[in-house]
Symmetry: C2
Subunit: 206 residues, 2 copies
Amino acid sequence: MNQLKNISTEEKIMTAAKQVFMKYGLYGSRMQDIADTAGINKALLHYYFRNKEKLFNRVFENALSRFFEQTEVFANDTLPIKERLFIYTSNIIDFYSEYPQMSMFIIKEIGNNPELFKQKIQAAKKNKVNKLLIDALEDAIKIEGLKKIDITLFIVNLQSLCSFPFLASTMFIHSFKAQSKDWYTDFSTEKLKKSVQTFIENTLEC
Amino acid sequence: MNQLKNISTEEKIMTAAKQVFMKYGLYGSRMQDIADTAGINKALLHYYFRNKEKLFNRVFENALSRFFEQTEVFANDTLPIKERLFIYTSNIIDFYSEYPQMSMFIIKEIGNNPELFKQKIQAAKKNKVNKLLIDALEDAIKIEGLKKIDITLFIVNLQSLCSFPFLASTMFIHSFKAQSKDWYTDFSTEKLKKSVQTFIENTLEC
DNA sequence: TTTGTATTTGACTATATGGTTAAACCATTA
DNA sequence: TAATGGTTTAACCATATAGTCAAATACAAA
């Protein structure tokens, strides 16, 4: 058995499946489309991943893992919470910048498979390298003497500012183009990062 | 011909189609599913709306119209821009609160049909009762002496704060529940409105 | 070279799905 | 009552799609 070639084919499939599933979701995606994108026979999909659902779950699980990796920074208790928030939001913006459809994909599919999401949360909580945003904020209020903010609201606001620009990029592109503003020229992830940082500072310090 | 009965069936179909299309998108939705939801025969769908695409476009067009209606407040030049922004964000939050899947639906489908979106923008610009956010802000800088903010960035931030909480509500519900926080208890649209207003004040005045 | 095993393919099946049609139903009116 | 015309339905068709299978191919070991 050629281990290298084997991995290569499997990865070709995973790459193609990621692409197609992110674009069309579980129901909208066609196995033939995935096979074509991967440049292989459709039967080979079923040889490597028994069926559509199993293939989809692998892609979804990968995406969720990447998503939760981002929270590792909160385990670093030596940094003040504001610094950790800056690093986290910067990382997550870079992450979405690289995979713009990730956010949409995760949000849409959590509804269909909330169990896997719960599992990931539990795993993250038990993992020593990891700590979730909510726990880090609660600790910061107790230990660092952080102002008693509304934690859930703050998290929602933060995720909104970081995710939505990529999620809705097609809307913004068309919207601004129709009004003679070039989204690509006007928008940069660096500017977004700065505005998020300003939001964090205003919320934590005002 | 019974005009009343006619409208009723058509509306039953539109209501069902809205529900199903919002949940599964164009490709993921099944005509049979829409027929079942409306409590009618599948052939009747084709009697009222020739085919799937036409039915979908009607639903999409309705959604877009509702979306653009929200910007009418910006045409009211007698109110200071801050007031108009407060009203607009409050309205749009109420709107998403009523139709939580609207934002996701519009975003997802604009990519497939950007032309209709462009048309709506053009129509809104020509409409005297209507004025778009971007124009209102540009005017405010010229006329009201508003601080020269980065308009596109501000709009993106604002839309993010207002839309994402509803778009990603399933994620937040599961996320907070897994961490013993009840999303429904902790979250209210009033709190969200206040945080958006604070963001507007900080951005326009700081 | 031969043999055995993993990989890959074309051809196939069963089912789901969008769409059509002819007939039935029902309300209005002559 | 009977004719008219819009509305609704069951049955049907053509195609698309997920999944299967036997045969072919590649490739490593004997």
